[in-house]
Symmetry: C2
Amino acid sequence: MPDITPDTPATALISARWVLPVAPRNAVLDHHSIVLAGDRILAILPTATARTAHPDLPETVLDHHALLPGLVNAHGHAAMSLFRGYADDLPLDTWLNDRIWPLEGRWVDAGFVADGTALAVAEMVAGGTTTFSDMYFFPEATAAVALRAGVRAQICGPLVRFGNAWAPGPDEAIHQSLALHDEFRDSGQIHVAFGPHSTYALDAAHLSKVATLAEELDMRVQIHLHETAEEVAAARRETGERPLATIERCGLLSPQLQAVHMTALEPGDAERLAEHDVSVIHCPQSNLKLASGFAPIAALRAAGVRVALGTDGAASNNSLSMLREMHVAAILAKAVAGDATALPALDVIEMATLAGAQALGLGCEIGSLEAGKSADMVAIDLSGVASEPVFHPESQLVYATTHSAVSRVWVGGELLFEQGRHLRQDVSAVLASVRRWRDRMQEVV
Amino acid sequence: MPDITPDTPATALISARWVLPVAPRNAVLDHHSIVLAGDRILAILPTATARTAHPDLPETVLDHHALLPGLVNAHGHAAMSLFRGYADDLPLDTWLNDRIWPLEGRWVDAGFVADGTALAVAEMVAGGTTTFSDMYFFPEATAAVALRAGVRAQICGPLVRFGNAWAPGPDEAIHQSLALHDEFRDSGQIHVAFGPHSTYALDAAHLSKVATLAEELDMRVQIHLHETAEEVAAARRETGERPLATIERCGLLSPQLQAVHMTALEPGDAERLAEHDVSVIHCPQSNLKLASGFAPIAALRAAGVRVALGTDGAASNNSLSMLREMHVAAILAKAVAGDATALPALDVIEMATLAGAQALGLGCEIGSLEAGKSADMVAIDLSGVASEPVFHPESQLVYATTHSAVSRVWVGGELLFEQGRHLRQDVSAVLASVRRWRDRMQEVV
């Protein structure tokens, strides 16, 4: 991947009051500059040194900002942003069975997914997210929106037992996912994965088929796993084994697996996940809002499990702000561990960047600010009454800022968002389509 | 209090897409207007009716906003905003004993409190808070800042066993609190209360003295109580009783008591608190961040306990945004209760407004949008990629918005904040003083 050499010509400087490169771990650099070479990072230097070495380059000066890798939202259902706030304060099974699934049956088509994803991407970019994972129907529509908007995406072809508007059954869904994978084989921007919904929504035979194909084609697999204690208990009643055991029996316990949620664990589970290099995707706000449970994040990390962060869909959060997810993850992990030193700020920032990139198989390309990697970056303004004084910028990023502090977002060196303005998306058109969907859906509420 | 009659002349209209008056409970009004009479609310009418009845009044039109009562931040330590992010990711006892208390000993004086409170008030106003409770040294400096900034405050004279820069001992602190209470006897803006820190930081004799004086003078009492299980265990070891029992023995269990935190409860405690009409002040973000524990909010409310919300100080949060506190309170209560229907959005909004006002003894004056009450209001913009589509504005307010969506804030009909601008505070001067404090404190880190 890094085809940068010391002789590659530099093209621009981005200089920030603080740079948090994530790798090396825990580094917080004062007054440093990113030297860009097109879409890549050529070097990170003290700003004075960078200016001396590159006196003629255009320079973006970020006087009171922290510059960090673009955030990686490792789990979500982007199009569900159109359902934001439609059915809150309900238990998970009622929410899914009585509200969300009937709503999806009524409304979801490729146009819905395109419009909903455009809304989600606009929100994510404005919040500093440069790469997101998605699991939803019509994944080709999701991919098209991400491509146009200039962001990176892992697109998980959704696999469920029942037929739906996108695929008449799981075999067809697997087939369509493979076709999509083939289409984006050479894309640096779109990465196609399998998205078996859960062990309760897909049978073991199809899970095994996914395992075989994923290994053969080196594809990632993302699944909702142990989201609630009730899911685990029901699986035990109906199949005699826990979902984690089913996953293992089907051959899915591997470095390619992204296990989303994992609130209900037993002794030994964390070690088992670590041994197989499985990634856990933690969605703390969704887990709290749906009363799903408390994922033992400090214990998972202590066992050596890679933990990434996801917002889940806007229908169960109801925000796609990774900064908010980072904040809730950080404070919740402490209370769950009974240890206020658990999951310090810099560790949460790593979860939201490099760990997410690694979970998605993109750890060599993005997730940290290192020479040779893609210039996916976010600048966050730490000035103002809500975040000053600044003693430790990482504390401010995790515990005090919100998405409104995001001032600039780049993917592959391209500026996508600047001071409240989206440079690639027509947000007025996006919002106009969102309001039309709301009006249509409201008519039948 | 309400000296408004139907003949009182109207002075202005404020018309909003949605009005959430809080009283009557659960009301969400479409296209309604607040009719102002100076600093009071004269009526709430459908906008078309209001315009017909008052064709010549100046009107503020809030097309895509929710208008609700100003938020009441029922617990905090405003001046500690100057310590924001100074010492994070530490356990409560280390944080207090090794970092915060030595820092306070070194730096806290009336000037520090004035500057820190100015920062906190600027942040709170920008976040929609119109009334805050404060417990900190030099409460007269806090009161002066609140008065100048145009916000309401409950100022708790801090009572601790040890001498400090403000008072040589608890008797003097009580005396100074009484003097302050006398000074603001006729103020509608400043309300002076007693602030015994905790049962571990003040002896029973002084707690009893506070109880007697509070009853005599009808003053409120705010105390940190059962913040952690360890606090309760230590009290049992050292005194043979739990802090709640000490409080009761000292005569403090009354409607005037504001019990802050209450994470460690036993069966029967909720009923006892309800029976004595004690208010509980819930600070979920501080409880999580310091790993203090999980307050059983749904159970407390089910037992009939009034629960208000507070941000705690910026050193243990690290934000004074009540919208963020509301969000975390709402989602955490569901997970703690194991019930996704617990603490729905409108209940959280009531906690952050009317319940807070009632806890502070101001329930007849503020906390809801009702004829006769003071026009303390906040308008929150629900348009944009982070909060559309809007099906239920209360869902958006609690689950999706952040302080950056606050567009206008009024106290007693006076506009204090408009579209990012503070109209009473010189924020540049505030931030300049904050940076000077940071530089001074950083020198000795």
